[in-house]
């Protein structure tokens, strides 16, 4: 029986019987950093074809969201790209705000920008240091993760959690940044450039790393576009598409930053683009802090929308309106307009879109999440065809495919 199966898979080539091996890479393989299964057809070390399976950690987020009031969907978005959950959270808040037609005060916008750029840095830290690990350089990973820890401590100071942040609320932030949080932000801004520089010294012009990553898992700009790649992976192929510039949200149009692009879309390009984006993010955070300091208003951290933003507790205890709004918001009984909105943010690894249809009920009628990882993973089999197995691992980590976001 078994031999027959192998026979079926063999190709006779010039009188020699050729035999392929089927290799199960995943679903729980330490090298794939998540639950991915790929059934590979191998010719020795060369991949002939790959068949990815998705859905191992599918948690039906879109369906779950149909039964949750809007504010309860934020914790769900945490669990998509968990390397940069604040971006997901704020993308969702902004989507709802767009549906409700809320204007955010400038201060909220800038505070959001700070948090989102910190999240982008932490996302890129994970991705780039893991590229190092998969190409055999564990050291940089350890140094960079110390910095990621600092970012997590900033989140912790603001929202109380490190990974699944649930940060911010519809209409602003749950609380203002306290002094400790500011001190941690400034400390991070002071210390991070040196570490990043050191990491670059370790890898960027290191011949071993360059030989290993150049021409590994390339994708052309045309292919990338037709797969509808976005984010660093598309920019690595040479297309300067960035949602923050093309479709600004949260006052991004006021910030001055470059869009780093690559040339060939291989692993080295993706690494370099992310590396440079971290520098740009740092500069954006500096600009945002400057703008915050220049603002006259130093205390607003949420928009004045009593229908959607929870009133302060003393108001709940002491005033009728406060109590009514509190109950109405928590029970999800506030009036939501009918309509459809699409809002996208530049997530850690691409355009993260929320397509929200509301029928005026307490929950979304339908929510579609445009997850960039889902799109990258479609191109993965094509990108690794004909490459070595170890290059396939490297390609996967350099695209930063996150299982939680892939399967949603």
């Amino acid at each position: 029986m078994a031999t027959e199966k192998i026979r079926k898979n063999t190709v006779v080539e010039e009188g020699v019987e050729k035999q392929y091996t089927t290799l199960n890479l995943g679903p729980t393989h330490p090298a794939t950093h998540g639950i991915f299964q790929n059934i590979l057809k191998m010719d020795g070390e060369i991949i002939i074809s790959a068949e990815p399976t998705i859905g191992y950690i599918h948690r039906a987020f879109e369906k779950l969201a149909e039964r949750r009031p809007f504010y309860q969907i934020t914790p769900i978005t945490d669990r998509m790209n968990y390397c940069s959950s604040p971006i997901n959270n704020m993308g969702w808040h902004m989507t709802v705000e767009k549906l409700l037609g809320l204007e955010m005060p400038k201060r909220v916008d800038y505070m959001r920008v700070i948090i989102m750029e910190l999240a982008r840095i932490s996302d890129h830290i994970v991705c780039n240091s893991v590229i190092g690990v998969d190409s055999g350089a564990l050291t940089g990973f350890v140094y960079m993760f110390q910095e990621r820890e600092k970012i997590y401590e900033i989140y912790e100071e603001i929202c109380g959690a490190r990974l699944t942040t649930n940060i911010g609320r519809i209409g602003g932030f749950e609380r203002d940044f306290n002094e400790k949080a500011w001190a941690k932000i400034h400390k991070f801004l002071k210390e991070f450039p040196d570490v990043l520089k050191e990491f670059e010294n370790l890898l960027v012009r290191n011949r071993i790393f360059m030989d290993r990553t150049i021409d590994c898992g390339p994708i052309t700009a045309e292919d990338a576009l037709s797969y509808s790649f976005t984010g660093p992976n598309l920019r690595a192929a040479g297309v300067d598409y960035d949602v923050r510039v093309m479709n600004p949200y949260s006052s991004y149009e006021e910030f001055d930053f470059m869009i780093p692009v690559g040339t060939q879309g291989d692993t080295y390009d993706r690494f370099m683009v992310r590396q440079q984006e971290m520098w740009e993010s740092l500069s954006i955070i500096h600009q945002a802090i400057d703008k915050l300091n220049k603002l006259e208003d130093k205390t607003t951290f949420h928009a004045d929308v009593p229908e959607f933003y929870l009133p302060p507790k003393d108001e709940v205890y002491n005033t009728m309106e406060g109590l009514i709004w509190h109950f109405k918001i928590i029970m999800g009984e506030t009036d939501i307009p009918k309509g459809e909105v699409y809002h996208c943010v530049e997530g850690g690894n691409g355009e993260l879109g929320f397509y929200l249809v509301s029928d005026g009920g307490r929950t979304p009628y339908r929510l579609h999440l445009r997850r960039p990882c889902f799109i990258y993973y479609q191109a993965y089999p094509e990108m690794i065809k004909g490459s070595f197995l170890s290059d396939a691992i490297l390609t996967m980590s350099s695209m930063n495919v996150i299982a939680g976001e892939l399967d949603a």
């Binding site: 100071e157 929202c159 370790l202 470059m258 692009v261 080295y268 302060p312 507790k313 029970m331």
Partner: protein
């Protein structure tokens, strides 16, 4: 090019020095070597514990007021707000003579949080109109059985003794600031 902001950041040509493997290897080793003499960033958990932020979202507590009465009035708002549907409760009416135990006429005779379901989002704390439930900086301990993760009032309600109360002053201060 879609914008005028793009900047090519990749240079794949190696110079002569870069083509020699050794300089990069020695440079890398030098960086690693320098780190031997830096301050350690790791801490010796569990002997040493990191200071968590005052608003850290860990295991819940059901508060008592200054006189030791339970604050919770079993209104169920926390259960409604819970996205993980982790909270269940049964309401009961306060009998005469129980005024020392419960602050309001209605109280929760059963209040359970399933810590396996809970995602520590903090929405219950935000929803509570009685300042009864708070998340704290304690971590939920692991257990061998699933049943052990269903925390009833025995584990959730704080002790009556004043010196065993759970200190939430930092947390309340952060909340008050939020409110000002």
């Amino acid at each position: 090019m879609l914008t005028n902001r793009s900047k090519v950041v990749v240079d794949k040509q190696m110079s002569f020095v870069e083509k020699l493997y050794l300089p990069a290897i020695i440079g890398g080793l030098f960086i690693t070597f320098k780190h031997f003499f830096r301050k350690k960033t790791t801490i010796k958990y569990p002997e040493v514990k990191r200071e968590l932020s005052s608003v850290y979202r860990g295991q819940h507590v059901l508060k008592r007021d200054e006189q030791g009465r339970e604050n919770c009035t079993a209104c169920g708002l926390c259960a409604v707000a819970c996205p993980a549907e982790a909270i269940t409760m049964t309401a009961a009416e306060r009998k005469p003579g129980e005024e020392k135990l419960y602050r309001e006429e209605k109280y929760a005779s059963v209040y359970e949080i399933n810590m396996l379901r809970c995602i520590f989002c903090g929405l219950c704390e935000e929803a509570c109109p009685k300042e009864a439930i708070f998340l704290t900086d304690r971590i939920v301990a692991s257990d061998f059985e699933r049943g052990g993760f269903i925390y009833g009032k025995d584990k959730l309600v704080e002790p009556v003794d004043n010196d065993k109360r759970i200190d939430l002053s930092g947390r309340l201060q952060a909340h008050r600031k939020l409110n000002s």
